[in-house]
């Protein structure tokens, strides 16, 4: 899953305001206190699948390599377990920082293609915003169809077991007052 980048990083690739912008978002407050010890990567359960370790992401953010950060898989691999934040000796809320970077990536349209999580996140967002609740079975199907249609076949036995035990059904969950949500999102998304 790790990709190797080649070629020198050039000064022209740096966004001089990126680090300060990240430092201003919730979670980024202590960005500049990082001592690059690697504790975050060491306690992270999924760091070995990342293209950059969390420490490297912080290093890249501080140096302003915005594009490289926002199109990394790392930010989408974070499982929100908060182990990094709990152990970071500099008190950096790395999990929250990852959320901030995810939002920036989506806003900039910069994320790795054919990589499921950002797609899933956006499908989730759309579904929940309109229905008020999520229905996992539909969500999963959508995600596979969009990114790796062949994998759907692999998932089928599990889906069948869930269906047979009555844990998923064909219906979708929704709330009554969906119009209220629309009104709330119209305001807050602006």
């Amino acid at each position: 899953m790790r990709r190797r980048r080649t070629g020198a990083r050039r000064e022209a690739d740096r966004d001089p305001d990126f680090a300060r912008k990240v430092a201003r978002t919730p979670g980024g407050e202590k960005l500049f206190e990082c001592i690059q010890c690697g504790t975050c990567s060491g306690v992270c359960p999924v760091s070995e699948y990342m293209d950059y370790t969390p420490r490297q992401i912080i290093g890249l953010v501080r140096q302003g390599f915005r594009r490289e950060v926002l199109s990394s898989r790392t930010i989408w691999l974070c499982a929100s377990c908060y182990a990094c934040a709990a152990h970071c000796p500099a008190g950096i809320k790395i999990t929250d920082l990852m959320y901030a970077l995810k939002r920036m990536a989506i806003a900039a349209g910069l994320f790795p293609a054919r990589f499921p999580t950002p797609v899933l996140a956006q499908e989730f967002y759309k579904m929940v915003k309109s229905k008020g609740r999520s229905t996992e079975s539909w969500l999963m199907m959508w995600r596979f169809l969009r990114t790796q249609p062949l994998d759907l076949v692999k998932m089928t036995p599990l889906g069948m077991r869930l269906f047979l035990s009555g844990r998923i059904g064909p219906g979708t969950e929704r709330i009554e007052r969906r119009g209220d949500l629309k009104s709330i999102s119209d305001r807050l998304e602006r």
Binding site: T39, S41, H87
Partner: protein, 656 residues
């Protein structure tokens, strides 16, 4: 008679002049009531600058002087002296701080200049209300108390004693030696700690000028620089010094087995014991907490076994009063408590996770394993992991770098290589080898075949994910040089714990009337220029009680504190700041509120006149009584209401 004020404005190079328009301040000063001279100079504290002041006093008949420059902590004494040399009373001088309080903290030139004008005006308004004060002198008791019998305290005591002064060396443990006595080898030269320490311990014991007070604690300190009174509590050893001949028969028959603190609990001792073979004094001690109750009905085995009749169950604690002129605190540090990171690093959960101090004992020839590096089950380890920065550089624990861990960790790795066949890996964030010969030692270690992984050990787990990890501990970390996560199995893990302030630092600071810095260690008077002095005159700090230090730095500070104490005592007399409180008998209503609040016990009560009175020798001029006095009878010399109010007016009412 109208006062004739001189104002002298300092550029302090560009420190002040870079932000403040000096000329404008001088022009402004010239227009102030009473000012007859206003001058500027690049460095007012220089000889030339002081010469200007002296000349102006004589030529213009100045009766008051204001210097607008840096903080009074730095140069108030300089300028007071200059005024005094020119025949003026030194206290008719006032310092206006336009550097720390103005140019350094204001960015805008206009604002900084305006503020400087206000500060100068305030000083001028104040100084015309100053009164001449007289410096008093007091004799100095030619004795020094050193608190703490580790390497720092030993060095300080020996240096003072060699100069012919009396030294009381107070140590709370039953023996001298402190932390260093527990170490095996010392970096970077690898001399054996005991070989270089024990001769010094013996020297202390044999020195005619040193009174060694082990198993003693300071309970109370009163008095002032040159004349401290200290109450020291001597805990009962239940073994009579002078009778005990260190034969050890008592420990052989003692039925109680207790945790040996000296070995960090890695071995056991008896209730009656000697901390270690070379302990000074060479004397047994009976620990009342583990003894069967000091009760001859229950057990008298040690008593019966002692041919010298040195055991006394009836021994009582004893308070000793000391009179000393100076005090040196060398109370040391304690190791960061690794049980606080038990979840992350497994200390206390996995038997083969050790603290660095425990590992020192494991390496030590007279330690629990006789110097053999073995696992908890006695097997020799095939691999050892050493994790740097445990509890240090971490905002959850200690923010600071503990300075010594990198080097002692390298020393451990070297000892492992020397004593075993084990593979050894150091996990570090930054390798700090700052001292003389340290980088060379680091390089030597690099050749010895140890693995160095740059990246903080992130966790220690017992969960094996592969064959090679089965039955071992696994350290997970990011190798920050290679940029990826690594899992490294180890049979033993050593946590290179940082140096923390001792738990009792807080009480000690209060008892001695000194402050602590944010990290909890004792605070020095100036981090660079007065590293062993404190804000309390006559009280010095040395060694790791002031901050993490290695042995060379501790010894250097011990000697530095000794030199400071010696010069204080050799002066014979000390000058007392005249800024003390006084009580106007005519106004005092005898309510005694002041006496209750005075932190220095400097207020006496005259039962006949029913009035309070200040003992000027004891008064530190803190002003507590002045603020508290309901009738306004208490008054602070140098800080009278008139002086302070006119200063405030000066700040507020300037028309700029």
């Amino acid at each position: 008679m109208a006062e004739r004020v001189g104002v002298f404005v300092c550029h302090c190079g560009s420190n002040i002049a870079g932000t403040v328009d000096i000329e404008a301040v001088v022009r402004h000063a010239k227009g102030l009531a009473g000012v007859v001279v206003a001058q500027e100079f690049k460095y007012m504290c220089s000889d030339t600058g002081q010469g200007m002041i002296k000349k102006a006093i004589k030529d213009s008949g100045l009766t008051r002087v204001v210097v607008a420059a840096c903080s009074p902590t730095l140069h108030e004494p300089t300028f007071r002296r200059a005024c005094g040399d020119a025949g003026m009373n030194a206290f008719l001088f006032q310092m206006a701080n336009i550097r720390e309080q103005c140019s350094w903290v204001t960015e805008d030139r206009g604002e900084a200049t305006a503020k400087a004008k206000r500060i100068v005006t305030a000083a001028v308004r104040r100084v015309v209300n100053h009164e001449p004060l007289q410096i008093k002198e007091a004799p100095v008791t030619p004795a020094v108390m050193v608190v703490g019998g580790g390497i720092t305290g030993i060095e300080a005591a020996l240096r003072v004693a060699d100069s012919g002064k009396k030294v009381y060396l107070v140590e709370k443990e039953p023996t001298l030696g402190g932390m260093m006595a527990r170490f095996d080898k010392t970096f970077p030269t690898l001399d054996c700690a005991a070989c270089i320490l024990t001769p010094k311990m013996t020297e202390v014991k044999d020195h005619p000028n040193i009174e060694l007070m082990t198993y003693c604690e300071v309970k109370e300190v009163s008095g002032y620089v040159g004349n401290f009174k200290v109450k020291v509590l001597e805990k009962p050893r239940y073994v009579i010094q002078g009778k005990c001949n260190n034969c050890g028969e008592c420990a052989k028959v003692c039925p109680v087995v207790a945790r040996d603190e000296f070995d960090c609990g890695l071995s056991t001792r008896r209730a009656i014991h000697i901390p270690f073979a070379q302990a000074v004094p060479s004397l047994y001690v009976l620990d009342p907490k583990s003894c069967l109750g000091l009760d001859p009905v229950r057990c008298t085995r040690c008593y019966d076994a002692c041919e010298a009749k040195a055991i006394d169950y009836e021994m009582q604690p004893r308070t000793v009063e000391l009179a000393v002129g100076a005090i040196i605190l060398a109370t040391g540090y304690e190791l960061f408590d690794c049980s606080r990171v038990s979840e992350q690093y497994g200390y206390g959960r996995f038997p083969d996770v050790y603290t660095s101090l425990e590992f020192e004992r494991l390496c030590h020839a007279s330690g629990p394993t006789g110097g053999k590096i073995v696992r908890a089950d006695g097997r020799e380890p095939e691999s050892i992991a050493i994790l740097h920065c445990i509890g240090s550089r971490d905002e959850k624990h200690n923010d600071y770098c503990s300075r010594v861990c990198c080097m002692y960790s390298l020393k451990f790795a070297h000892l492992v290589k020397e004593k075993t066949q084990a593979k050894v890996t150091n996990f570090y964030i930054d390798m700090r080898a700052f001292g003389k010969g340290y980088e060379e030692f680091y390089r030597r270690c690099l050749h010895e075949g140890m693995d160095l992984v740059r990246g903080k050990g992130a966790e220690v787990t017992d969960v094996a994910e592969s064959e090679g990890e089965a039955g071992k501990l696994v350290v997970r970390c990011e190798d920050t040089l290679l940029g990826g996560v690594r899992r490294i199995p180890a049979d033993m893990v050593i946590l290179s714990a940082g140096l923390s302030p001792r738990k009792e630092t807080h009480e000690l600071a209060r008892a001695f009337g000194i402050s602590r810095s944010r990290d909890g260690f004792f605070m020095e008077r100036h981090p660079k220029l007065a590293p062993v002095a404190t804000a309390s005159d006559g009280i010095y700090v040395a060694g790791a009680c002031q901050g993490p230090k290695d042995i060379p730095d501790c010894v250097a500070q011990g000697a530095a504190a000794a030199a400071s104490a010696i010069s204080l005592i050799d002066a014979g007399r000390i000058k007392l700041e005249p800024i003390a409180a006084e009580i106007d008998e005519k106004v005092c209503c005898g309510c005694r509120m002041c006496a209750a609040l005075c932190p220095y016990n400097a207020i006496e009560f005259d039962p006949v006149k029913k009035k309070s009175r200040i003992n000027e020798a004891l008064c530190k001029g803190c002003g507590t009584c002045v603020a508290a006095c309901p009738s306004g009878a208490a008054r602070q010399k140098g800080f009278t209401d008139l002086q302070i109010l006119s200063e405030i007016e000066g700040v507020l009412c300037v028309n700029l």
